[in-house]
């Protein structure tokens, strides 16, 4: 019944008027880190029977324990998250946010805490697509506002790909055969295929390295929060907690930077 409580509280606040709004706004700032996530990206952030959980949730809670901050999760559809960060309604986004030059120009990023690769996924039994080079002339989908869109648009044959982005349920559309492939990060794709009933398979190897980090607003308060979080991340890395969280959700450590593999292109990420 937390939903009802939220509503009751809101109605109470509304009726007290604007003056109260200003009051609560200043009072709420102290030592609370508001973390936005979609709650719809298995197994990084997802809701099962009303319980918000996943890799990102565990990582943020561990960070909170280190910094002493009270971690408050805010879930919203992915397309609303950036707006919430910009308008100061949340302090950061924990939703596998990839560091890109564009985002780096705008936000103050923490150090990376996930190293992953972009992955093409197709319907089970579709053996005509073996990787990103086979996407010419195909319909490929991805989440709206995700970095994979930029990655695909940078391919030399990008204009030959029928690229579509939307809000959610891309996995289902490929399973139904409405699109030929979707692109997301390798670890969640593998986990979805392993744990969930959808008929999907990985198509070839990951094609671009991605590094995920937490974006903060690039102002004094945001940078201070980032510095606190960075310190906590260092500690969690040293005491092995970060690794343990990763192994709990992925059976492998995705939080450690991979050894350089020579020829492989690092893509647009820094």
């Amino acid at each position: 019944m937390t939903a009802f409580k939220t509503l009751a509280r809101t109605l109470a606040i509304t009726s007290l008027g604007l003056a109260t709004f200003m009051g609560t706004a200043t009072a709420a700032q102290a030592e609370t880190l508001r973390v936005g996530m979609s709650g719809g990206y298995y197994p990084f952030t997802f809701v099962d029977h009303d319980k918000l959980q996943g890799f990102e949730v565990d990582v943020m809670n561990a960070i909170g324990k280190q910094t002493g901050d009270d971690i408050q999760f805010v879930t919203a559809s992915f397309s609303g998250l950036a707006g919430m960060l910009d308008s100061g309604r949340i302090d950061t986004i924990a939703n596998q946010i990839t560091i890109t030059p564009e985002r780096q120009a705008k936000y103050a990023f923490s150090e990376p805490y996930v190293y992953d690769g972009a992955q093409v996924v197709v319907k089970k039994g579709n053996d005509s697509i073996h990787g990103v080079e086979d996407l010419k002339g195909k319909t490929v989908i991805m989440n709206l506002g995700s970095n994979y869109e930029t990655l695909l648009k940078e391919l030399p044959y990008a204009d030959e790909i029928n690229l579509k982005t939307y809000e959610s349920n891309i996995e289902q559309d490929v399973a139904l055969g409405r699109a030929d492939a979707f692109v997301m990060d390798r670890t969640s794709a593998a986990q979805v295929i392993k744990d969930k009933p959808l008929p999907l398979q990985l198509a070839g190897q990951p094609f671009s390295k991605i590094e995920n980090a937490l974006p903060f607003r690039d102002d004094e308060k945001g940078r201070a929060q980032r510095d606190r979080v960075n310190k906590a991340l260092d500690t969690l890395r040293e005491n092995g907690e970060l690794k343990a969280i990763s192994e709990k959700w992925f059976d492998s450590d995705i939080t450690e930077a991979p050894q350089s593999e020579g020829s492989e292109k690092t893509g647009s990420n820094s």
Partner: protein, 224 residues
């Protein structure tokens, strides 16, 4: 063709029902505010109060002419750039405000139609016995207009309940947002969306029943 996962559906019902108070609460609050605002707008339009009438026209034109989602984003993510105190308004309040503004524009028009639908002779009769314009409106015209407007207003209320599903884009997990998240983790799309569809359907059916009773009551004076 895979079989429906009935256990999952049954388990989902109590989870989703927990969000019903929020969904219904937002719609009810929006409806209450919209009723007040739309009556005000309609009366302004009918009595052609100079200045106010043009403002009401502009208001109705804008809020009828743009999608609710655009209004919500404009208000919640856009305006705080200029008016920083708006940041402190949370998603639930913003949704209620959005629903109020959007639907009052529609409702004002149907209330206006209901008012103008009452025969002029009624106004003349009221004024002939010395009622002021305000008294005429409150005692004679609005009670009759209420009866005419009830079915359409009920339609807007039903629409409003379903429109609360947009609140998830403002970070409010309501009935539909909760369903989307559950479906995104279970990948049992059909089951999850079927359960939520039935829940919405039952709510609206219950409302239709209330509407029938309400209409009967309002019609009592007209039955001989």
């Amino acid at each position: 063709m895979q079989a429906l996962n009935l256990d999952y559906m049954v388990g989902l019902v109590p989870v989703l029902l927990g969000y019903l108070p929020l969904t219904l609460g937002m719609a009810a609050a929006g409806m209450a505010c919209a009723l007040i605002l739309s009556c005000l707008l309609a009366v302004i339009r009918v009595s052609r109060l100079p200045g106010l009438n043009q403002a009401a026209k502009l208001f109705i034109s804008f809020f009828r002419g743009t999608p609710l989602l655009v209004q919500l984003f404009l208000f919640y993510y856009g305006l705080p750039q200029f008016l920083s105190f708006l940041v402190s308004i949370n998603g639930v309040t913003a949704t209620i405000m959005g629903l109020t503004l959007h639907f009052s524009a529609y409702m004002a028009e149907s209330i206006r139609a209901a008012i103008t639908g009452i025969d002029r002779s009624q106004t003349e009769a009221a004024q002939s016995i010395g009622m002021t314009q305000f008294q005429t409106m409150r005692r004679i015209i609005l009670p009759q207009a209420t009866r005419v407007a009830t079915p359409t207003l009920m339609n807007y209320f039903i629409d409003m309940i379903k429109s609360t599903s947009l609140a998830f884009t403002l970070g409010v997990t309501e009935l539909m947002g909760a369903t989307q998240k559950e479906a995104a983790s279970s990948f049992l799309y059909f089951e999850a969306f079927l359960v939520v569809a039935v829940i919405y359907w039952i709510i609206v059916e219950a409302l239709s029943w209330c509407q029938k009773r309400l209409e009967k009551r309002l019609n009592r004076a007209y039955q001989r």
